[in-house]
């Protein structure tokens, strides 16, 4: 066996799962380590990313969005990736690992449906059978994505338990996996969960940051002052940050969903308002009661509606390498509309959180500032939901 990866980021992370799942996680770690050393695997992954998914994605300088002349704002256009969000990157990587392990089925959870769509497309392409757990509430608010997944041959299983959102979909996927690990890979969709998922997901998304570095150097001749990404479980953010962690002059900013406000209970800001604990196999910041029961999160954006955060973000927060801010539903909805009107780009509600924070920074900037926002996905999936909101109908399922 080649050497094992570290299972923790400081105190965070780990493998807090039933003993039964340990062999499956060890097998995954081994397959990943071997694949990272295998030029054929790397070649196949790269060619799928480039020729199928459309990498590299552009880095677009906004023209009209920012009124402060001292500020230059770029968008990393993961919205243009096949599937409509960054999710496709790491899904292709894990789908290849699934085949490498000789497994024929894929289990996934999805919130916004973007990870489900990415999983469905990769499984259609690579001949894998996909079953995707989705909270019943999310099935409702992300209906177009449910149809997309089904069109591409995936089975979508609504989860009614608990809050009927992402957290409950993860629970159900883990339960399925504990009975099916021999033939099925659990293709976890964010940089959370037990080791080795946070590491694998980061490594399979880190081209986002590598491309940003090369593109901004080419366009501006310097690195950005700040890199801003939304944080649900943390995959698009860690993919954008990874290449810059050892470049301290670039400020890394994660944006959590403040929902109806951090003073309410209706938000999903695990770092800002949560406490340390274990959810879904990892020790991290989570939203919980004093007794340790997990609290339900809330966000207008299904993809950020998760009461925990990936362990590496908890670590980056504690050591001060990244800062974590939050943005309300209302601010995100405003940014959503503003980008559509000013630049002709309709962002995902998730990504609108990152954008909203960048716009707040831009308003406040007194010096020359170069900001890159990771525009993690496009907003097609959110149109009906946003339309409802804008009609003044605040019913959100």
């Amino acid at each position: 066996m080649s050497k094992q990866l570290s299972t923790k980021f400081g105190d965070y992370g780990g493998m807090y799962v039933p003993e039964l799942l340990i062999p499956a996680l060890d097998q995954l770690e081994q397959a990943f380590l071997n694949a990272q050393q295998d030029p054929d695997f790397q070649q196949e992954f790269k060619s799928l990313l480039n020729d199928y998914a459309g990498r590299p994605t552009p880095l677009t300088k906004t023209r009209n969005l920012v009124s402060n002349p001292k500020v230059t704002l770029y968008l990393k256009r993961e919205d243009l990736l096949h599937g409509g969000a960054h999710k496709t990157n790491q899904v292709l990587g894990q789908a290849l690992l699934t085949k490498r392990m000789g497994k024929t089925q894929v289990i996934a959870e999805t919130g916004a449906g973007q990870h489900g769509v990415a999983t469905a497309l990769a499984c259609a392409l690579l001949g894998l059978k996909a079953r995707i757990y989705m909270g019943a509430k999310d099935v409702e608010r992300q209906a177009p994505n449910v149809f997309r997944m089904r069109l591409m041959g995936a089975e979508v299983i609504p989860v009614n338990a608990g809050s009927g959102t992402l957290k409950d979909a993860v629970n159900e996927a883990l339960r399925d996996w504990s009975a099916s690990y021999q033939d099925a890979h659990y293709l976890l969709g964010t940089a959370a969960g037990p080791h080795p998922f946070p590491t694998i997901v980061r490594e399979f998304h880190k081209m986002i940051g590598e491309e940003i570095r090369a593109q901004i150097l080419e366009k501006e001749g310097r690195l950005p002052d700040a890199l801003v990404a939304c944080v649900g479980g943390g995959s698009n953010a860690i993919g954008a940050f990874a290449d810059f962690i050892d470049t301290p002059e670039v400020q890394l900013i994660g944006v959590e969903p403040a929902g109806k406000g951090l003073h309410t209970h209706e938000h999903g800001a695990a770092i800002a308002k949560g406490t340390k604990g274990i959810l879904h196999g990892a020790y991290s910041y989570i939203m919980q009661t004093p007794e340790g029961q997990i609290e339900e999160s809330y966000s207008v954006s299904a993809g950020l509606d998760y009461p925990a955060v990936g362990p590496q973000h908890a670590y980056l927060h504690d050591i001060g390498r990244a800062t974590y801010e939050s943005v309300t539903d209302e601010e995100a909805l405003n940014a959503f509309q503003l980008l559509a009107r000013k630049e002709g780009i309709i962002p995902a509600l998730e990504s609108s959180h990152a954008l909203a924070h960048a716009l707040n920074m831009a308003d406040a900037a007194e010096e020359e500032t170069l900001i890159v926002v990771n525009l993690s996905g496009r907003g097609d999936k959110d149109l009906a939901h946003v339309q409802q909101f804008l009609k003044g109908d605040t019913h959100n399922g």
């Binding site: 493998m15 957290k167 604990g277 919980q288 029961q293």
Partner: protein
């Protein structure tokens, strides 16, 4: 001698295996739960395995999930659960009482404090469903400090290295998984588990009690014939609570009958 060792010694002399029912504490409410546990003991339970309800029980199937929800909807807290155990312990000095729960409930008050409170309530063993051996160190240290036995799980897919660790570290009993998957009677335990049982014996593990997918006396009999020291039935027991929520007297009668039926299958 600890209560599990005493129990196994007694059973040995009576030529019997152990039958251990599981229920979620506080299901359907604190007072009924106390009566439920009394009914299990009255039916002839050799030991008790008691769950603390958790919001996100990833190792549990629908039946035990629902029992946790019933308790949580009544506002049952871990402290309420330990208070129930305290009351049971006052009436039953010798019966081994095991706690089965999830790691975040242990972390909330602090690992050491949780084990201290559990020991004070009269708990003999703790099994944490989402703490595998490789994460168990701080939990086992607290267990040692407070005289509690940390129960380890032997899954059917355990590697030789894992079995070796169970041999070194297990105490009380070893929770032998009858099959992969989550709790529930939807899928029966695979029998016989004799291969895994003899491997556990070879590494010197604490006596194995078979759980997951056990709902019938024949399965208890088969488990004991395969060399297990006993059997645990969770979902099947909890199902009886679920089926008689509007008739508590019937619930308690049926629970005692169920335990008696399962217990009668433990003769060697």
């Amino acid at each position: 001698m600890d209560r599990y060792a005493q129990m196994f010694q007694r059973l040995e002399s009576e030529k019997q295996g152990a039958f251990v029912p599981f229920v979620t504490l506080g299901d359907p409410d604190v007072e009924t739960s106390l009566a439920v546990v009394e009914a299990l003991v009255a039916g002839g339970a050799d030991a008790l395995e008691l769950g603390i309800p958790f919001s996100d029980p990833i190792a549990d199937g629908p039946t035990i999930q629902k029992s946790a929800i019933r308790a949580l909807e009544k506002g049952v807290t871990p402290r309420d659960c330990l208070a129930i155990i305290h009351r049971i312990r006052e009436h039953h000095k010798d019966i081994p009482i095991g706690l089965l729960l999830y790691s975040n409930l242990v972390l909330a008050p602090g690992i050491d404090e949780f084990y201290r409170l559990a020991a004070e309530a009269g708990v003999d063993s703790i099994l944490i469903a989402d703490v595998p051996i490789r994460e168990a160190e701080p939990f086992m240290a607290a267990a040692k400090t407070h005289g509690i036995q940390q129960i380890l799980i032997a899954p059917p897919n355990a590697s030789q290295a894992t079995l070796q660790q169970i041999g070194e570290l297990s105490s009380g009993y070893t929770y032998l998984l009858g099959r992969a998957g989550v709790t529930g009677t939807e899928t029966a335990a695979d029998m016989p588990a004799s291969d895994l049982i003899s491997k556990l014996h070879d590494v010197g593990a604490a006596k194995p009690i078979l759980g997951f997918g056990i709902s019938k006396p024949e399965q208890v009999k088969a488990a004991i014939e395969a060399g297990a020291a006993g059997a645990i039935a969770g979902s099947a027991t909890v199902k009886i609570i679920e089926q008689h929520l509007d008739d508590k007297a019937m619930m308690l009668t049926r629970l005692s009958e169920f335990v008696a039926g399962m217990k009668s299958a433990t003769n060697k």
